[in-house]
């Protein structure tokens, strides 16, 4: 049997299954000229693999990320690139162990067929050493890149343990945005929500509102983030924010229980709440189409 599969058959054949959630939010490609110049493309967002975690919330802690990577590799139509939006590793107080986990994670991620992979830190990777170990393995914690008419900005809201972007990075963001047209198509990649999703569970960025203020003059902005281990969609004005599922344990809906403890593993529905998404940038219809893929045991 061929390992190459059509994305539409993805769920049935690649060890991923169940319900597909798809949502579409309009985000116009800059203008007609850009639309003609740009091609349709898609990228995959994976988030919060928490490599190194051990505990009852995931009896397959060493296998889940590998299953997800095998599934992505099974796509006949490979994404243009892949992003990991933070918490690549589970935190440890031991700097040596942190580096071992980062090294193991990098080794596993190197199994992806697609070699254009963008990494971002989460607070578990970076908050105890201001991103030092992360940078040794993956380079800068904030950066930009352009792809087929879309301007991507990776924002770091975790290397400062206070969950702040910081004035220096905000100035960098402001300078970068000043070079973009008001109708430029901009995608923000980050770990924590930029808005106050649920500060009672630390689901916020203390100075995230400043970043949103800087983005507001731009008409076409979409934010993809992680941190909360579940799908979530929110608009702040015209800016769309999309949280992705995690790849280690799901967390409860904001405020749905007294504490944000991981949801228990359900043997009847293993891997429930874990997964990743692909993001289709469709130039002709000027849309980002999100498709959520739950992980399922092979």
């Amino acid at each position: 049997m061929s390992q190459s599969i059509d994305r539409r058959e993805f769920l049935k054949l690649a060890g991923l299954g169940g319900i597909v959630f798809a949502s579409t939010l309009r985000s116009r490609i800059a203008n007609a000229a850009d639309a003609q110049a740009a091609d349709d493309f898609y990228f995959v967002q994976l988030s919060d693999p928490h490599w190194g975690f051990q505990g009852p919330p995931n009896p397959d802690a060493k296998g889940t990320l590998k299953k997800a990577i095998a599934a992505v590799n099974g796509l006949s139509d490979q994404p243009d690139f892949i992003v990991f939006t933070g918490d690549l590793t589970h935190t440890t107080d031991d700097p040596k162990e942190r580096r071992q986990r980062l090294a193991q994670f990098r080794e596993i991620a190197s199994e992806l067929k697609v070699k254009d992979v963008r990494f971002m830190p989460g607070e578990h990777d970076a908050s105890l050493d201001h991103g030092e170990a992360f940078q040794e393995f993956f380079g800068p914690t904030h950066y930009t890149f352009d792809h087929k008419g879309v301007h991507f900005i990776a924002l770091d809201n975790v290397s400062d343990p206070r969950a702040m972007i910081g004035d220096e990075q905000l100035q960098w963001l402001s300078a970068d945005l000043a070079k973009q047209r008001p109708d430029a198509n901009i995608v923000i990649l980050t770990h924590r929500p930029l808005f106050d999703l649920y500060p009672q569970w630390d689901w916020a960025t203390r100075d995230g509102a400043k970043a949103i203020d800087l983005l507001m003059p731009h008409r076409n902005v979409t934010v993809f983030y992680g941190h909360i281990h579940q799908e979530h969609h929110k608009m702040t004005g015209h800016i769309a924010h999309h949280a992705a599922m995690g790849l280690m344990f799901p967390l409860p809906a904001p405020g749905s229980q007294p504490k944000r403890d991981p949801l228990p593993w359900d043997p009847e529905h293993p891997y429930r709440g874990l997964g990743f998404r692909d993001v289709d940038a469709e130039v002709k219809t000027s849309e980002f189409k999100l498709t959520e893929f739950p992980v399922k045991g092979a």
């Binding site: 935190t91 908050s127 105890l128 343990p161 206070r162 969950a163 500060p199 009672q200 203390r206 944000r260």
Partner: protein, 122 residues
């Protein structure tokens, strides 16, 4: 001369009056209760506060080890708790119920379980 004495008496009586008002003011405004809270990896002691609606308190923080945070979002009160320093914040319980507080400065492997509750009763 009489006029000057009269002025002096009036002035003195005014001062006495002001002092009396100040004393009454102090007497009717009880000193706010200070609740001492020690933060350490990865707990607050105490980690449960019982407060009365509308009765302000002063929360006085110290940390036994690293930089910690205190954040009670429902009351818009937060503090950085720095080693070697005493940090005070005033909290006015303006709603009844149970509310969580948490450490909002990533402080180590147990950070995510470093939290507590505030119970406000009428």
């Amino acid at each position: 001369m009489r006029t000057e004495r009269r002025k002096l008496l009036v002035g003195l009586s005014s001062l006495v009056g002001l002092a009396a008002i100040g004393a009454v003011g102090a007497a009717t405004q009880p000193k706010e209760k200070v609740i001492k809270i020690l933060a350490r990896k990865f707990t607050y002691s105490p980690n449960h506060l019982d407060l009365k609606l509308g009765v302000p308190v002063i929360l006085e923080f110290t940390t036994a080890d690293v930089l910690m945070g205190f954040n009670a979002p429902d009351f818009q009160v937060r503090a950085d708790i720095m080693p070697g320093k005493v940090e005070q914040v005033r909290l006015v319980p303006d709603k009844v119920g149970n509310f969580s507080f948490l450490c909002d400065i990533f402080c180590g492997s147990g950070h995510e379980s470093m939290n507590g509750t505030i119970t406000v009763s009428a």
